[in-house]
């Protein structure tokens, strides 16, 4: 295996730093995320409050560290949901083909014919929002991509000799799928997952921004930006700080995904959707 590409190292290092901050958030935060102080409303960045304070006098840095956890977990959680649903369906469609394939792919076509954010709105508008539901809604949106990808890889692998050998040994279908095909199908799926995480973080933040994700007083980066919106002229730092961190995180994961793609799957070096 070649040396890891630079984009993977840089992206990975930045993402690891963000993830570490998210993980250690409660210990690193100088103030509790929900501690209000009317005396220190909308203060600009200073040595006591590195990123200033918001309209309730809450420390922006502390809220960002707290929000990092939810934003990252929503992105990763959503991707795991799309993997958990999409990969088995794709394996089944690609291996059994015929009627199974037809049924699964028609369902997927239907899912694709709904604009991405609407699927989220439909799920979230009907029940009281919470971040896990948002992650689930975002995950559902990415199921079609995972199914199509896994199906394509499975179709290719199903005619390989080691699969035919397993069949000849009389192995069961689920064994062949789980033990023979899946371990060989991982590389493109991992690459796609890494790229999905960035879209999921952005979409999750957008839904929180619209009030359909995390609920106050808890917060993620999207909701922080929404809450800062009315005071944007007086206190731009309340929105700019989480927004900038969000962008840095997304760029880092994007770099990581591109690097992983070059490392694991040189065949996929074309445009991505």
């Amino acid at each position: 295996m070649a040396a890891p590409p630079r984009s993977l190292l840089v992206g990975g290092a930045v993402f690891a730093a963000v993830a570490l901050c998210a993980l250690l958030g409660p210990y690193l935060a100088p103030y509790p995320y929900d501690e209000m102080n009317i005396m220190t409303r909308l203060q600009p960045p200073s040595p006591t409050h590195w990123f200033g304070t918001d309209e309730f006098g809450r420390d922006v840095l502390s809220r960002m560290l707290f929000g990092a956890r939810i934003s990252l977990l929503m992105g990763i959680g959503a991707t795991l949901v799309s993997l958990a649903i999409g990969v088995p369906l794709g394996l089944a469609a690609g291996y059994y083909r015929g009627r199974v394939d037809e049924t699964i792919m028609r369902m997927i076509d239907l899912l694709i014919s709904v604009p991405p954010i609407l699927m989220g709105l439909l799920i979230l508008s009907m029940t009281p929002p919470n971040p896990w539901k948002t992650a689930f809604a975002v995950g559902i949106i990415y199921v079609p991509i995972m199914v199509r990808l896994t199906r394509g890889v499975t179709l290719e692998l199903a005619s390989e000799e080691f699969v035919l050998a397993a069949r000849a040994r009389g192995e069961r279908g689920w064994y062949i799928l789980g033990a023979e095909i899946l371990p060989n199908a991982w590389p493109p799926i991992i690459v796609e997952s890494a790229l999905r995480v960035t879209f999921a973080i952005m979409l999750g933040a957008a839904l929180s921004f619209l009030g359909l994700g995390v609920q106050p007083p808890a917060s993620d980066w999207g909701l922080m930006i929404a809450e800062a919106r009315p005071f944007i002229d007086a206190a731009p730092w309340v929105a700019l700080a989480p927004g900038t961190v969000l962008c840095i995180t997304v760029i880092a994961v994007n770099l990581m995904g591109d690097g992983l793609r070059d490392l694991l799957d040189p065949r996929l070096k074309r445009g991505r959707g």
Binding site: V114, L121, T127, T198, C247, I251, N254, R270, G273
Partner: protein, 318 residues
């Protein structure tokens, strides 16, 4: 081509029928009582009963669905709970404003994206290509709602050139109208133009290496003619597909952008309806957006088939 068009039209009808069931079902499976949710947890029993009677929630589910779907077919989308007015005119008005926003944006995204893509492909490896590549990487990584905040801060707050929010009808003068629409359009374009430019670039680079481009050059045609008449036409076919995908993303973007800029379009109406738990409005809004999306996809598929005869005769590629 006619058969293909009819097939695709039938498919759109199927999608809308299935979606109408799904949307209706989603309002049925939610935990708790719809009526209770609408009036709030501190409402009296009479209030709850009144809402139940008004929405006729005591009928069997399939009767409720058929009544709703029957109304849809007659163009009757029901009554908005929060405004107590028919939904259809409200949506019709909002969708016109959203269409203006979407139309201007998609034209700019296509024009600007193709222009940038061709420029960086032709100057592959030169500094300008690197600048465009790094720029599009950055633009792809910034969510619309953050762009919205940044452009408001810059052009409305810091420079004070444009209004931060709101909407002006054309009747109030085109200058007023333009001033209100610049920032929402700019936000949408910034967020999506990189998709088109990146794809156009890679597809253009591939085409420029093909034999017919070499042949055109060997004929002694000027490079600008080779690019415009020979390479670009073929390179644009995949761009049509990505534009169709972008229409879907644009709709999501419009929901966000309309909310940030208080632009009274369909997206803002939908979010408002969700906040107010105006369920008939939510149902109608989501179904309308699905219909618009299905028609946009249909248009993209037809355009694609028009440019690419292989699809017209064979099985339609997904």
């Amino acid at each position: 081509m006619l058969l293909y068009t009819l097939k695709r039209l039938a498919y759109v009808a199927v999608i809308l029928a299935v979606m109408s069931v799904l949307i209706f079902w989603a309002t049925q499976v939610m935990p708790g009582d719809v009526a209770q949710m609408i009036v709030g947890q501190f409402a009296t029993d009479e209030q709850v009963r009144a809402v139940r009677a008004k929405l006729r929630l005591d009928d069997p589910v399939y009767v409720q669905y058929l009544r709703w779907a029957g109304g849809l077919l007659r163009g009757d989308l029901g009554l908005s709970l929060m405004m107590d007015r028919p939904i259809a005119p409200l949506i019709a008005e909002a969708i016109q404003r959203s269409a203006v926003l979407a139309g201007i944006s998609i034209v700019l995204i296509a024009a600007l994206g193709i222009w940038l893509g061709v420029h960086s492909a032709v100057r592959k490896g030169k500094p300008i290509d690197h600048a465009i590549s790094v720029g599009s990487y950055f633009f792809i990584s910034v969510p619309e709602f953050f762009w919205a905040i940044v452009v408001i801060l810059l052009f409305a707050g810091y420079l004070g050139w444009l209004p931060a929010t709101g909407y002006a009808a054309l009747s109030e003068g085109w200058w007023q109208w333009l001033k209100h629409i610049v920032l929402p359009v700019a936000t949408l374009v910034l967020g999506l133009v990189a998709h088109v430019s990146r794809l156009t670039r890679s597809s253009m680079i591939e085409t420029m290496q093909s034999q017919y481009v070499t042949a055109a050059r060997a004929k002694g045609l000027p490079e600008s003619v080779v690019i415009r008449r020979h390479a670009l036409r073929n390179a644009l076919v995949p761009t049509i597909t990505v534009l169709a995908i972008d229409v879907g993303l644009l709709m999501g973007g419009i929901v966000v952008v309309e909310t940030v800029f208080s632009y009274p379009g369909l997206g803002r109406l939908l979010i408002f309806a969700i906040e107010q738990k105006d369920i008939p409005m939510v149902q109608a809004g989501i179904l309308t957006v699905t219909a618009v999306y299905a028609i946009a996809n249909l248009a993209a598929d037809l355009l694609y088939a028009f440019f690419n005869p292989r699809i017209r005769y064979g099985r339609a590629a997904a």
